[in-house]
Symmetry: C2
Subunit: 338 residues, 2 copies
């Protein structure tokens, strides 16, 4: 029970069974890579149960490779169609797909959490649509943990919310701070806003407005806004534990960093979806089996440590207040006349 001892949010942590819905058709190397990852995750964690969502043949490969006594840990939801990378996420969650069926498995209580390495847009859309958003949350944010020589940096958003508004960035700062505290065990997280210089006022209109807003908004878990940070502060670590940005910039930066370093096998190629009412892990489309297994283990941890309810508890009041605040506009923050 060492994990329960390390829990940052106290209380009795059930390290028991975690049932993870796995999208067998998600990812560049699916289903083979996902089958490999599922087997690795099973052998690493005897209390892990898998709900395999995908074609019967792929699920059969997982089951066939398991020892007899482990086969009871696996169930199958047969679905044959996936959301392709080129499909519109919004259009395709309306019909049956593995990622939608995985979200429904969580919603119906058949699984505790879900993992997909497929189109992150589809995973985000299906999660928000099927599981719903946390109260007050406009749009969810994908949070990726970036290992650095000076500790982990949580980068949020890395692709869930494009064309982000001021309110969405402030809400992601709140959610990211809460997750850094309860999910990463960082006390009093330091929160930075990604920009193109660290001096006050640097950046585009959105950044200038959000920086002013973040100076005023109380952050959960003793978090504090420390101002603007730059691109190099994410791979190097440094002033901020949580780096907030829009999903477009965050996605480009994360992939740029990945491209610049050789991605080591212990690289965490999975991101947690913040702001939806359920445990959702999105893996990199190019994840290998080890990394898919890491994503499954992360989903199991989210469930066992009750991280999403703890994040929701810390952020709820703030999110609701922010959502109902009428004046959170870029124009107002920058003191511009209408």
């Amino acid at each position: 029970m060492t994990r329960s001892d390390r829990s940052p949010h106290g209380g009795e942590l059930p390290s028991g069974v975690a049932r993870i819905a796995v999208d067998l058709l998600g990812g560049d190397g699916a289903p083979a890579v996902v089958v490999d990852g599922a087997l690795r995750a099973c052998s690493a964690d005897p209390d892990l149960h898998l709900v395999l969502v995908g074609p019967r043949e792929a699920a059969g490969e997982v089951i066939g490779a398991l020892a007899d006594e482990d086969r009871g840990r696996v169930s199958v939801i047969p679905v044959d169609s996936a959301v392709g990378m080129a499909d519109s996420p919004l259009r395709h969650i309306r019909r049956e797909s593995t990622v939608r069926a995985a979200a429904e498995a969580v919603y119906m209580g058949r699984a505790d959490a879900m993992v997909s390495a497929g189109s992150s847009g589809a995973a985000v859309a299906a999660s928000a649509h099927v599981l719903g958003r946390l109260r007050g949350v406009r749009r969810p944010g994908l949070a990726a943990r970036v290992p650095t020589p000076r500790g982990a940096v949580l980068l949020v958003d890395v692709g869930a919310t494009l064309d982000a508004t001021m309110l969405e960035l402030v809400q992601h700062a709140v959610l990211g701070t809460a997750y850094a505290a309860v999910g990463l065990g960082i006390a009093r997280p330091r929160v930075g806003l990604l920009s193109i210089g660290s001096e006050p006022g640097k950046g585009d209109r959105l950044r200038r407005a959000v920086s002013i807003a973040l100076s005023d908004v109380p952050l959960p878990a003793g978090g504090r806004y420390i101002g603007l940070v730059e691109g190099f502060d994410v791979p190097r670590g440094g002033p901020a534990d949580v780096v907030v940005t829009d999903g477009f910039t965050g996605n480009v930066l994360l992939k740029g960093i990945e491209g610049a370093i050789s991605v080591s096998s212990d690289h965490e190629a999975a991101a947690v979806l913040l702001g939806v009412a359920g445990d959702v892990v999105v893996c990199h489309g190019a994840a290998n089996g080890d990394q898919v297994a890491g994503g499954i283990a992360l989903a199991a941890r989210l469930h066992r440590e009750r991280i999403t309810p703890a994040v929701a508890g810390l952020a709820d009041d703030l999110l609701t207040e922010l959502s109902s605040a009428g004046g959170l506009t870029i124009r107002d923050a920058l003191g511009e006349r209408s």
Copy 2:
């Protein structure tokens, strides 16, 4: 005259004297680092003349360190105030500053090109204000050459144009293509638009609209638009020689890549300002002496190889046409009703 032999745009190239205005007060380590860079550049290139713009004492350090016979290669424009990193670039170019005086030296014909490692916003604003923009150009773009295992990638813009519009991104694609051809010697440059996936339609509204526009716009120098590229395509190299993005995203990505790799001494910490009527090189604020010297050498090469006039010649018709086209709006490109 090997340089003249390698010229991609033909004609007699004077590899003779190049007079480079150097902003002694620009950069985190100024003036010491700039003094060091100026001396290195002088010793590497016997035909280089320097117009040192800054305090007399700093200029005196350069002159004092030169051999007697080289002192005739240096002149001084005494200016004591710089634009600080926290200053507003727009406000401060109106009064005297080293970066403004360097641009004026180019405008008055006292120097052939300029180099600054100070605030890039100030260098861009001063250049556009004093030198003017090329015909049709809305806003200039900073183009950085990123070395990769598969050849250089030109990333444009890396910080000149925040809150970029569709027209500005298309114009930067035109300018970047012309510069890749004449400045980097890349035949028929392949041009990519930075987004969060490579499938058509991926990205935010701006990217979706610009991608449609780039499919229709003829590019100079035989350049061709190859579609969307991702963050990792910049450090790894790959499908595109020229990667187009807004200045916010480009700056964050470039710094993220720099932070992820150990910046080697042959790293080119200088960017070329495209779209202004003159030769302007902007060095990284954290550039070391070697890198400042590299920036000075790049400015000398821009001048000697007449790269800016060649870029202007290739891009002029397109830029003017784009600038006068009324229908280049995101709404139109995406086929949205007004």
